[in-house]
Symmetry: C2
Subunit: 200 residues, 2 copies
């Protein structure tokens, strides 16, 4: 059998993607070097040509998610002007991100990721804080534009915003996709919107 060789940038990308797929499909626990290697068509030790160890691989996966998460905020800010509509779209993107990459909640809620590694735990926390901070900025902007109640604490609103989608994600996850996450968020959003919007 002829051996396929590819450049390491390509492989790094391939391996990270494969890791995400495995996590999405079977969870962090099933992410092992042997299965990962099989998925990209090589032998376990081959992975080590492209990542120093499993830790470095997890870092890459985490970075990818952080990038996607913050990318959503940037996209929304670039395409939409109205703060409330920005939030609505962001919520929608977030749900779709979860449905697409079931990996997101599985990684965020897994000790496997930060288990011992204090450093990575910090990274994860910073990523979430960065996301929340962006959402809080949108809220502040909405207050400046007199669309969102001025007396509300933007950080609190941002965290509540996250709360719209998070329990849904877990329930969806526990029910093996049976629970209709999109529908819940669709119903919850108007309630949330009316709660923060200035009364007309």
């Amino acid at each position: 059998m002829s051996i396929v060789k590819l450049g390491t940038e390509i492989r790094r990308e391939q391996i990270a993607q494969a890791a995400l797929h495995i996590i999405a499909a079977n969870g962090m626990r099933k992410l092992n070097m042997a299965g990962l290697a099989r998925r990209v068509g090589m032998v376990p030790s081959g992975i080590y040509r492209h990542y120093r160890n499993k830790d470095e691989l997890l870092d890459a996966v985490l970075e990818f998610l952080r990038h996607r998460l913050l990318g959503n905020v940037a996209a929304v800010q670039a395409q939409i002007d109205d703060p409330l509509e920005q939030l609505q779209e962001l919520l929608d993107l977030h749900v779709r991100l979860i449905l697409e990459h079931q990996a997101l909640p599985r990684i965020l809620f897994s000790e496997e990721v930060y288990g011992d590694h204090q450093e990575r735990k910090g990274k994860l926390r910073d990523a979430i804080h960065a996301y929340l901070s962006e959402v809080a900025d949108i809220v502040r902007n909405g207050q400046v534009k007199r669309q969102i109640k001025p007396e509300l604490n933007p950080d609190t609103v941002a965290l509540m915003f996250l709360g719209l989608v998070q329990p849904t994600a877990i329930l969806w996850h526990l029910s093996d996709g049976e629970f209709d996450a999109a529908k819940h968020v669709e119903r919850a959003w108007p309630i949330f919107r009316e709660a923060i919007r200035v009364n007309l």
Copy 2:
């Protein structure tokens, strides 16, 4: 050294409590039979006199949490009449439960618990559904009493209610207790209450 012997009912309780403490302090990953045995003052194989295996032990821990969670709802329903106040108190109890047993989010969000075990995953899901169902009942009751907006879907409100505390728990957890969970919930609650309450 003289060997201490205790009845198995006592030991089962001791071991389950020790497991909870370990999970709370160091997470699911650090819950192993050796450490657990050390904590209750015996040798690893000794555990097997009281639990058939680790699975049975995890079931016991899960059952304990389910009991505490549903117990909170029952307590609130027994002591308070007003539905909105019931929710407020329930929220408070929930936060305290998490602060006291950091184990709660760690278990709920851990694949370690249901990893392969489809049966236990179902149990966990049912426990959460049971909790949500009770909360939805409170909401319905509030609608009957004309305190909560009649057009709101009780299940949606129940899940949003859970969303008040859940992201907080994760942030608190990731920040090693630095993040002030109680304060966030204290701020978020009135916003949520005004969102579901009938306008005066």
